[in-house]
Symmetry: C2
Subunit: 658 residues, 2 copies
């Protein structure tokens, strides 16, 4: 039975939840496929996450391996393939709680970096799981700056082998997933030396464990890096190599080869490889970043209509906490952001598909723009969504802090997305470098990529809004965002030039501008996200109430951004103080409007109870009953040896006299 | 041996670290006492936290109980008493990793709420640990709003007993520390009923477990609430009462008594009790909030001078990451905040001591101000410090994400401080209510407490700064903060009045202003923190470089607040855009200045390696070696059954055909 406090929220939906779900899925057929996958996975007890919050790291690892192996069977059974329409829903249905994710990266890197011969040899072995692969790039002392990697691979012409070494502790491979306990092989990135000359970083296939008994190969020291904030199910590993010899054929050689005599030969363009790395940043957004935020919103919003606290009106029942403006102000902007980023993800996917088609035709012109967008949006979205999940957690008070709410593990997991696949600050500075370059180019009258043509159109006007309703006009707020992005880019470009002209060295000048460059990059992405949301709303069908509610969310996303960052808009007087008061008024008004549809808006994400795995967020809203039932199963409710050992002697005073 | 990259940072300190340490401790004698306590605790293997990151919740609980019992012996051995000068350092030295903290709350509540007779009976029993106490207030469905608690205590005149019940699941006690597995007794807060009439919430001493065999008492269902984001060492519990009878004497009756015939008698003033609750919020700041931030700063800053990444200057060695402006901008404001809040903590302690003396003299005039300050600062400091710890964690990249860095557990623990002892938003609204009241009173010419007299002095001037150096003048920035606090309070008061005058009901009007009221309360606290820091610096001795470096930190704290919140200062034109650019310039300049002393500034916090318990933050900076050594000890480096069960069959293809 559904908690009536939650049930009543669904009766007043201003739109069709099923229609919105289809929009999010990309069509009703997709919804059906998704649901079929979810049903198949969730009805299979091997994939259960029921005891997850009670398990140790060792237990989580074992479960993830069990699931990964079982998944292979399941896919065969169900007729699912890696290229089929179901595939993208499988990982989501498993909530990522499965091993051998790096095995796929191992395969992809061979496909992208290997010669045809290497692909023909290794891919079938990997596909049939005759080996388990990993991908060993990051080192203890080296992450982002690949050129700094210290592992060495010295070519020995006599034996036609590469000799791999970890010359010092900072060169130890550290973090690779599946490597701590599972992998038999890995792709090691190392500095290539031939006849004493360094040729830079290259990839090598290295066997690290016996295929017979899984013991470490000679010269290999490997293990698990230990406890982390999350990802208990993954055996992130370390790897130390001592004179490990591999045959010449094991250097992945699509782009460069070492001939038997030690001649180093470059071949082809590495640009497509570069494109691949760029797409990884986009591909993680949906599963690793948006899904957790959507889950957190679902949990926190459902809980906030079931939880009652204090009285809003004297003499009445305690109020639902979502009726408090402060609670709305915490949660509803996160909900709006989840939708905004869902739509920008669609936009980016489309852009990258286009980019891919161009690259197939050997046209690499789009690469710099794609790199800038993927870097910037990876950083902005992971940052925004991580903060959003934390807000949802805190908005649920003490119960949000219980692992049983599901929110802590969403938070500790999404947090990692700010760090992996490019640390966010560094990525934003990549975007900023592109912006500055394009800004200079525009100023010099040169053509620039479509996403930055607006930089040339510097307008010194003022925001034309006359009353608070004007701020519900997408033209008004989109233009304001554009203005800020241009101002931050142009003013930082000017500072940079001033510094250089005053004699500061280029790299020092750049460093002295980085705090502001980061701001400019964020403003650029924020502008594009707002513009894209507004354009998406414009194109929606006007029936079923979908366009109307999406318009509200778009307005909220835009106005929340202004309200939270008023200085950027006030700075040069583009927006006046009086206009800022209008923004605040419209923004607060919107909270009350969207609050009415908050539950249907999270219902449209269509998470099952099993996928939420939350005592607070279930569809029926029976929060307290579930918390109680769940807590009783905790291993902390078993007898503790602490009683016999310490409590009993203490209470019975048999402890040596205190 | 100290990592030379860390060692070199210490050689250039602009001030005496020992002198600064003495300032923070409140004198060199205090430093000596602190160090003696730390030495005694850390040299005792029972108190070791060495394996903490590898332990399960059950193991953590057992260790905490062991430590709590051992601590009693230790105190006897060392001659430490609860009233001695060592006491405040013990908890810090244990990093709070000890059980029976609620036993002290149990004792305090009896001392404050109990009659002399009750005190005489229960305090000796508790002191001698003939029972283990807890404190059962919060319920599954009720936290902040005490009047909403649902547990009932019905007086039975026939038997002279109270009959305690949990009438529904939402009334179950939930969260009390030490109650899940340890406590034999607890203070239960329940609605008192006599002859069918409800007299509101009262405290009752209830035995929940047998003193003989620790089994649950008849009618009592209790256990552990299961896994949480942190506090694995604490057995937060649940408690369900079914017709549990306790003698009439067990209602704590300092302020109200139920006579044998059921007559309800109120006596004395509860104001002093109210004061006690207020002081708890202040007392947690130092141990639970400042210490974690200081530890996080120590870890992140030491790591940031040892970690090298990318090249700042072409052709040179990779740079220390603390030399990047973006890294400085993440960490140094947190360091400044740690100092700012240390000094505001001193200020609050002093104010509360004064308040206590007044209250002893039956003068309760200071109570509203103390309540507003304790609420506001509890919220502002916990929020700021929690965000600060998270920034430190993220600034350490992947290694920060490892539990072995110590940062994840600092974060997950400090996060709870935003929720317990009053949820932050609710506390800020309490402060705001006080501000609005005082603002109205000032306007009506009535006297107001000292901390808010500034509200009357609304100035419509402009910031007089003419160049970036002017913003290093405390008068300039303190006045700017004051201006913002006044503006936010007065504009929200005006909005509130307008709404009410336009016919909106008072409670609705209040709710519609809460987002802005929260802003006003924060601005008030921020102003006081800046002002207090500036005044503290003013009073410091000018020798040994202490005043100079503290002045820089004060400037940074103030300018970072403006830089991060420019809109508030720009809004009504008090600060112009040109002035804001000066703020930015001065702020960024300061980062480079303070960066030079960053390591000595964290060294002054004087954390031992054992108390940091961090592979990244040790005094010698041997980060990589320590991470590797530590990881090898992880239980995840033991043989996993997953190999025999799943990996071997998979690799050997003995699994049923895939």
């Amino acid at each position: 039975s559904v908690n009536p406090d939650l049930g009543s929220e669904r009766q007043t939906a201003s739109f069709s939840v099923e229609k919105l779900m289809a929009l999010l899925d990309g069509g009703t057929e997709q919804t059906q496929i998704r649901r079929a996958v979810v049903e198949a996975i969730e009805s299979d007890p091997v994939f259960s996450r029921e005891n997850q919050y009670f398990q140790t790291q060792n237990e989580r690892y074992e479960a993830a391996v069990r699931k990964a192996v079982h998944l292979q069977k399941k896919m065969n059974e169900m007729g699912w393939t890696e290229n089929g329409p179901e595939y993208k829903y499988i990982y989501r249905a498993l909530s990522g709680d499965v091993a051998f994710l790096l095995h796929r990266v191992f395969m992809r890197s061979i496909s992208v970096l290997g010669s045809d011969k290497q692909i023909a040899k290794w891919i079938p072995l990997a596909t049939q799981h005759k080996l388990i692969g990993s991908y060993a790039q990051t080192e203890l002392g080296h992450g982002t700056y690949l050129q700094g990697l210290e592992t060495t691979a010295v070519f020995d012409t006599a034996t036609q082998e590469f000799i791999l070494n970890t010359p010092k502790i900072s060169a130890m491979k550290w973090w690779p997933g599946d490597m701590g306990r599972s992998a038999t092989h890995t792709v090691v990135f190392a500095q290539l030396y031939i006849h004493g000359k360094c040729y830079g970083i290259h990839p090598f296939i290295v066997q690290i464990r016996s295929l017979q008994d899984h013991s470490l190969c000679p010269g290999v020291i490997a293990g698990d890096i230990g406890p982390k904030m999350n990802f208990e199910h993954i055996d992130n590993g370390y790897l130390l190599l001592k004179n490990v010899r591999i045959p010449r054929e094991n250097m992945l050689s699509k782009f460069c080869e070492v001939r038997p005599d030690g001649t180093y030969v470059k071949q082809g363009s590495q640009k497509i490889n570069y494109f691949t790395m760029t797409t990884v940043r986009i591909s993680l957004i949906s599963d690793e970043v948006l899904t957790p935020l959507m889950k957190a919103c679902t949990i926190a919003i459902r809980y906030s209509v079931v939880r009652r606290q204090s009285k809003l009106k004297p003499g009445e029942q305690e109020a639902k906490i979502l009726d408090y403006q402060t609670q709305q102000e915490k949660l509803l902007p996160q909900l709006a952001a989840a939708y905004a980023f869902h739509f920008i993800n669609d936009y980016l996917q489309e852009l990258f598909n286009r980019g891919y088609r161009e690259i197939q035709r050997k046209n690499f012109d789009m690469l710099p723009e794609l790199h800038a967008l993927s870097s910037g949006f990876k950083a902005v979205i992971t940052q925004h969504c991580t903060a959003g999940v934390e807000i949802c957690l805190r908005a649920c008070g003490g119960h949000g802090y219980s692992l049983l709410s599901g929110l802590p593990s969403l938070y500790t997991k999404i947090l990692a997305s700010c760090i992996y696949e490019g640390e966010n600050t560094i990525l934003l500075l990549q975007t900023a470098r592109f912006l500055i370059k394009c800004f200079m180019a525009s100023n010099a009258g040169q053509p620039v990529p479509p996403s930055v043509t607006y930089l040339a159109a510097v307008k010194h006007g003022k925001c034309p809004a006359k009353n608070k309703l004007d701020f519900l006009s997408p033209d008004i707020y989109t233009e304001a965002y554009q203005h800020v992005a241009v101002r931050l880019t142009s003013s930082t470009a000017a500072k940079l030039q001033d510094l250089i002209q005053s004699g500061v060295k280029k790299h020092d000048a750049w460093n002295q501008c980085t705090v502001q460059l980061v701001q400019a990059a964020k403003a650029h992405c924020h502008y594009i996200a707002v513009k894209n949301f507004a354009e998406t709303v414009e194109k929606l069908e006007t029936k079923a109430g979908i366009q109307k509610i999406m318009k509200h969310l778009c307005d909220l996303f835009a106005l929340h951004g202004i309200f939270s960052n008023t200085g950027a808009f006030l700075h040069d007087g583009y927006t006046s103080a009086a206009q800022m008061d209008m923004v605040t008024a419209s923004y607060l008004d919107l909270l009350a409007v969207i609050r009415k549809d908050a539950v249907p808006l999270v219902d449209a994400f269509d998470f099952t109870d099993k996928s939420l795995n939350s005592a607070l967020g279930s569809y029926d809203g029976q929060v307290y009953q579930r918390l109680y039932e769940w807590a009783q199963k905790s291993p902390t409710n078993q007898m503790s040896p602490a009683y016999e050992r310490y409590l009993k002697p203490l209470l019975h005073n048999t402890l040596s006299k205190l």
